[in-house]
């Protein structure tokens, strides 16, 4: 089933954390406690815009002590398909949204003896939750958090207040960069690294890990891939016998859902593999934006990840 059980929520408070980041507290509409989640989990938030339903994944920051609310952090990205802009401009205290049950694709490795948490920009949200959990369980950890400037560190003050000298902050405007070549080579055996942030930063950190001789098993990343928009195209779902259109501001998966077909997904960010779908035929070029399929699979043109990828062309026929 797609995304599993859904929970109806209401926005109970909104903080403007930075000029571009808002934090939303969500409570169940029926006031029941929200499920406990493990650090690194995300939920998929469904937003009902005027003419369509947008679904975006957001990492959970925390759950209030009484279990009544979750917090998520949302960066306003104007060039996206509109989900974050909707959250910023249209959602107010009292607004109703729907979320999926938490899913964790970025868990802490509990056999590790030390944990290095590395965040860039809004990638700090899962890292924040992980740091809380590590502190609670008295694990050894370090936090490295890179931000554009002081005003854009959505969690800098809170992190320093809660984790003290375990936190290192890096400001782009002061030319401060996370020196992977100095940090990584000397970490004790049994250290795990977790990085979340912009694409280029993740790649640089992972590359630094490999250069320092770290095994893949100890390198963990979560990429925040917003599905890019593109030109509209025709979509046919062969099994369901439905033909519809994928709009320029819609993801393929959203268009499938809008046509009333329940397609599988978990991360909606091109990482988990859940939404892999067989391409029956296509008139045009597949634009693969995921991190799941191998290069050969992408080149073969027989598979597509519907959450982030689309077609540049006229018509796509899927085995759904």
């Amino acid at each position: 089933m797609s995304g599993g059980v859904e929970i109806g929520v209401r926005v109970v408070s909104i903080e403007q954390a930075t000029p571009t980041v808002k934090r939303f507290s969500l409570a169940a509409r029926d006031r029941s406690p929200l499920p406990v989640f493990s650090a690194g989990s995300h939920v998929v938030v469904a937003m009902d815009a005027d003419d369509r339903r947008i679904k975006n994944p957001y990492s959970l920051i925390d759950r209030s002590a009484d279990g009544s609310t979750y917090r998520i952090g949302v960066l306003r990205t104007p060039q996206s398909r509109g989900g974050s802009v909707f959250m910023h401009d249209r959602v107010e205290v009292g607004s109703e949204l729907t979320i999926t049950m938490p899913v964790n694709l970025f868990p802490l490795n509990r056999t590790g003896r030390k944990h290095l948490l590395i965040a860039g920009g809004i990638g700090v949200t899962p890292i924040y939750a992980m740091a809380e959990e590590l502190a609670r369980q008295s694990f050894a950890y370090e936090i490295h958090y890179a931000m554009r400037d002081a005003a854009h560190g959505a969690f800098a003050d809170e992190l320093v207040a809660r984790h003290g000298d375990k936190v290192r902050l890096y400001r782009d405007d002061c030319q401060e960069v996370i020196a992977v070549d100095r940090i990584l080579p000397h970490q004790p055996l049994g250290t795990h690294l977790y990085v979340c942030g912009p694409e280029g930063m993740i790649d640089a950190i992972l590359k630094g890990g490999r250069a320092a001789g770290w095994p893949e098993e100890n390198l963990h990343a979560e990429r925040f891939l917003a599905p890019p928009g593109g030109s509209p195209f025709a979509l046919t779902l062969a099994k369901a016998g439905i033909t519809t259109e994928v709009r320029s501001d819609q993801s393929l998966l959203e268009a499938i859902e809008a046509a009333g077909v329940d397609a599988p997904f978990l991360c909606r960010g091109g990482a988990c593999g859940q939404c892999e779908t067989t391409v029956v035929s296509c008139d045009g070029e597949l634009v693969h934006n995921d991190h799941f399929l191998s290069d050969e699979e992408k080149a073969s043109g027989t598979k597509i990840m519907t959450c982030v990828s689309r077609l540049k062309g006229r018509e796509l026929v899927l085995d759904l």
Partner: protein, 200 residues
């Protein structure tokens, strides 16, 4: 009498040198030395960054220490027994850094001890490179008295601690590096089938 198809049976992927590693920490026992010679013979450049621990085989096989010394690894520790080797390994693991890759070659019980030592230091089991060489002898833990019996090649086997005849199962504990032995005549005491050579 063999109880198989139990998933916990370990798989040994072979002693492949990870050229990305900054340091190679290699533990070998008995015929395991030959796996080290094969793997590192193909990567002589890695030897300058290699620490090698070796104990000659307890049961069978010749001593390969001289051949390993001729390899001129950065560091070579020839240890008198498997337990002393594991003690030395633990000392090295205590101060090792993330660029270190752990390797184990030899009989199953030995590989199990090396993997367990690595895991106790937080090393992910999937990143430990292993190769089985030499006898198929197993290290068996009696589930009744918890005593370990080394170099087991037959089943049933008599527990070297409490004396109960044990069926050697394929159920393997990674933490203990040992196979499980369970009483074979619990239902009808004294009804013990003849021992079969299974893991010679």
């Amino acid at each position: 009498m063999l109880v198989s198809n139990i998933k916990s049976r370990p798989v040994y992927g072979g002693l492949k040198v990870d050229v990305a590693a900054r340091r190679h920490l290699v533990a070998a026992e008995g015929e395991g030395a030959l796996a080290v010679i094969d793997a590192f013979g193909a990567h002589p450049e890695a030897l300058a960054r290699t620490t090698l621990l070796y104990a000659a085989g307890g049961s069978a096989g010749e001593d390969h220490a001289a051949r390993l010394a001729a390899f001129r690894p950065d560091d070579l520790f020839v240890m008198p027994s498997q337990p002393t080797l594991i003690t030395r390994l633990n000392v090295i693991l205590n101060t090792a850094t993330m660029g270190t890759r752990l390797y184990a070659a030899g009989v199953e019980g030995f590989i199990g001890s090396v993997v367990a030592a690595g895991m106790a230091h937080g090393v992910d089991q999937a990143s430990i490179r292993t190769e089985h060489r030499g006898s198929l002898a197993r290290r068996v833990q009696c589930v009744h008295c918890k005593g370990m019996t080394e170099n087991v090649t037959v089943s049933p086997v008599t527990c070297s601690h409490c004396g109960i005849p044990l069926l050697v199962r394929d159920h393997y504990s990674r933490r203990l590096g040992a196979f499980q032995g369970v009483s074979i005549d619990a239902e009808t005491p004294g009804d013990v089938p003849p021992a079969e050579e299974l893991y010679a």
